[in-house]
């Protein structure tokens, strides 16, 4: 999933005819002054970070004049809000708010349909409203083949008190446009909170657009950096590179995320960083559960499953090994129908290319555990190519458990560390 920044989300809304405040992206005090001169005072300064707690954490502030603007922008730029670095701000006109409304469209797994959501009381307290007064949240599932029509949305909006017919019609139209955003851009969630009733009409003061990660490749007009979801932080360059592997080839997947990109967590907690790849996220979790108590920490998560072609394994193995500071590599497959001989070929080609002098035998502890379809072929290939004979390699088959693989890695690493001394 790709969560867009507020200004990116608003740019999309504007393309679909949903009004937003006038505003400019700035990255310095000088740019902020120019932006405020355009939108006028009072203005809003909003940190462009991916966090739902931004408003309550000082990431959205009003300024009444240039002195305040300079102070706020200087304060926010380069700082961290919700533990996220702030390097971009949105300077917007501040509008008089008469009422705040919540609109959203997301997927309803139980109905297997999109669902439009409306609440007559929006703003920063929407989560509390949902808990305290769930009946205030109105939902309508949408038949995806039929689509959403203004009268569907109007039925939803009619539930709200204190709105004129004209206002209800306006909200219903915006909700339908929001549904169009959801469908057009393969979203998992689109949200306007709040949609403000102002003297100038209905205006989306804040917006959230989350795009389905598996559909990012076809959202080319959004010009996004495509990568696996990595929480609220921006994708790393290595994650962006990894995402290109699946973008070009639909056959199987390699989901790669850096858990500890700069190894700071591993170092801070005195854990041993290692590169990691599993067939299946479940096997990945259970293997991590075995390895972490033994003092290891995976610097990346990788699930290369869905029967990926050998070339995908080749590429992602190169990426995993390119992470500096790793003191080992663990590959574990779950028992599945994945054609593991192809998986093995990808790993073998990568290792032979990375370690030409040793014909593919790595210089760090490496455990390769193949269990599932064609696992015996995979083991034969590793033996044929001389990888299994590597001093720091342990190859395991279908009799091994995740615990066995972790124990083998631990033992191998102990031996390796004892021989190599300080591993820095």
């Amino acid at each position: 999933m790709a969560r867009l920044l507020e200004h990116q989300a608003k740019a999309i809304l504007r393309r679909f005819g949903i009004p937003t405040p006038d505003g400019y992206i700035v990255r310095s005090v000088h740019e902020a002054k120019d932006a405020a001169a355009q939108v006028g005072y009072p203005a809003m300064v909003k940190a462009q970070i991916r966090s739902g707690k931004r408003g309550k954490s000082g990431g959205v502030r009003a300024v009444n004049d240039e002195a305040e603007l300079v102070s706020v922008v200087s304060d926010m730029m380069g700082d961290e809000i919700c533990r996220l670095p702030v390097d971009t701000l949105l300077v917007e006109q501040r509008l008089e708010i008469q009422r705040e409304i919540y609109l959203g469209v997301t997927a309803d797994p139980s109905a297997r349909s999109p669902v439009m959501i409306f609440c007559g009381r929006g703003g920063v307290g929407i989560e509390e409203t949902a808990l305290a007064d769930p009946e205030a949240i109105h939902r309508l599932t949408v038949d995806i083949l039929r689509g959403a029509y203004p009268y569907d949305a109007l039925n939803l909006v009619h539930a709200a008190d204190g709105l004129t017919s004209s206002q209800k019609l306006g909200i219903a139209r915006i909700l339908c446009r929001l549904y169009d955003v959801y469908r057009t851009h393969d979203c998992k969630l689109v949200e306007i909170n709040p949609l403000a009733l102002t003297p100038k009409g209905l205006i989306a003061l804040d917006a959230r657009v989350d795009i389905d990660g598996d559909a990012l490749e076809r959202q080319t007009d959004l010009n996004l950096d495509v990568a696996e979801e990595a929480g609220s932080r921006c994708p790393t360059l290595l994650e962006e590179i990894a995402a290109t592997i699946d973008a070009r080839d639909h056959r199987g997947t390699v989901h790669f995320v850096q858990i500890d990109p700069d190894l700071s967590y591993a170092r801070e907690h005195d854990l041993i960083p290692f590169g990691f790849d599993c067939v299946g996220a479940g096997a990945s979790l259970t293997t991590m559960d075995e390895l972490v108590p033994l003092g290891f920490y995976p610097v990346n998560f990788c699930d290369s499953s869905g029967n990926p072609v050998g070339s995908k394994l080749y590429r992602v193995t190169k990426l995993i090994f390119s992470q500096p500071g790793i003191q080992g590599y663990v590959f574990v497959s779950c028992v599945s129908s994945q054609q593991l001989d192809n998986t093995a070929r990808g790993i073998i080609k990568a290792l032979k290319e990375l370690y030409p002098e040793t014909k593919g035998q790595p210089n760090i502890p490496t455990v390769l555990c193949f269990r599932g379809a064609w696992d015996e072929d995979a083991l034969s290939l590793l033996a044929e190519h001389g990888i299994s004979e590597g001093r720091w390699v342990r190859v395991m088959g279908r009799d091994a458990t995740e615990r066995d693989a972790a124990a083998a890695f631990y033992s191998l690493h102990q031996e390796w560390r004892s021989e190599k001394g300080s591993t820095g």
Partner: protein
């Protein structure tokens, strides 16, 4: 195909090149054998005694080649080392340039 070299592009981006000059003297043709198992595009040209493609270059690129890498790896071990597989990783060089310490495979322990 140019002269003794056969080159075809693959779906994921990249190409496989076979130096057919080596292939005539190869008795086992392991690339053809492994490709047959995978349902891939390589077959034996009975007249010339070298591998050839059973589909068009477009069909091969569209996914006819399953990119198992078997042709290269089998040829390395049992053939004449005639197959080269080039599978680029977009921006990987840029990433490597950002590293302040070498990757593990370039490191002396």
């Amino acid at each position: 195909m140019t002269g003794q070299m056969m080159t075809f592009e693959v779906c994921s981006g990249g190409r496989i090149t076979i130096d057919l000059g080596h292939c005539a003297a190869c008795e086992s043709k392991p690339c053809v054998a492994v490709c047959a198992v995978q349902g891939g595009p390589l077959v034996l040209d009975e007249i010339r005694g070298v591998p050839t493609l059973r589909w068009s270059l477009d069909e091969v690129k569209r996914g006819g080649c399953v990119e198992c890498l078997g042709c290269q790896l089998e040829c390395e071990l049992h053939g004449r080392q005639a197959v080269t597989t080039t599978l680029p990783l977009e921006r990987f060089g840029e990433y490597m340039d950002t590293l302040t310490e070498p990757a593990v495979y370039g490191r002396e322990w």
